[in-house]
Symmetry: C2
Subunit: 154 residues, 2 copies
């Protein structure tokens, strides 16, 4: 197998394994991947309208309605009306939602540390640079037209 394919295959395998690990960590809760993704974005963005979330998640507004319905029913979010726009709703993390996100952020740090535990600081830095290069290349592949204008969120 060529050297390029070896790198690519490992990236695919890592993607799969990370997903598996996430699914395992969800199993302890009543959350699904999509709902957790919404909570994660909400945590990042702060209180948001459903349309904002739909854009952030690259998903239809109708879909967000369903996800927020479920998250509201299980107590992770609330959606009081917008103070200055009675039609709009502002989706907000409840205490339970905030605590869950805090726990997940913590788990994420621990996993991140474990993954590179076999590498010294120099190796980690070179790895980061290699991955950075790949991210840039991939962004060019996925959206060639707007690649120059897109920036990863640092």
């Amino acid at each position: 197998m060529s050297a390029e394919l070896e790198v690519f295959d490992r990236l695919l395998e890592i993607a799969l394994l990370i997903q598996e690990d996430l699914a395992r960590s969800f199993a302890a809760t009543d959350l699904t991947v999509s709902r957790t993704h919404l909570l994660w974005e909400l945590n990042r963005l702060g209180p948001s309208t459903q349309n904002t979330l739909a854009t952030a998640l690259k998903v239809s507004p109708r879909n967000v309605t369903g996800l927020v319905d479920a998250l509201e029913a299980s107590g992770y979010v609330a959606r009081p009306p917008h103070p200055r726009h009675r039609r709009a709703l502002v989706v907000t993390l409840t205490d339970r939602g905030s605590q869950t996100m805090a726990r997940m952020e913590h788990e994420r740090s621990q996993i991140a540390a474990k993954l590179v535990a076999d590498l010294d600081a120099d190796q980690q830095e070179e790895l980061r640079q290699g991955l950075d290069s790949i991210v840039t290349r991939l962004q060019g592949l996925v959206s060639p037209a707007t690649a120059s204008g897109r920036k990863r969120s640092a």
Copy 2:
């Protein structure tokens, strides 16, 4: 942000971008991610029973029935009965299925090459080793009990 998190975040972003790129390449066909995954495994394993596919894809037999139904209807696979077991079916790639897989393998090679085009041979090799270390760590996280027994398919 810590160095560990930087590596982890890039891995997550790469996983997302690869998925996006795959979805884009499906858009030209009538295939979905799950159906393509089945075709891919079938291509790797050769003609297989549905139970074998269910195990390979880590999915229920009932689910495989649905996927194969759809792939048969669109002409990617056939399922003649097993020669020595009239109850069993042997799922097989049709010409269309084989050609599609050949094309996808080719695309995969090209993408793989593009991703690391900015790196010289030494950097590619170091990257591969770094990723290898991460794969091993992840396998340990995902299935701690059987980690020592599991081997990546080289």
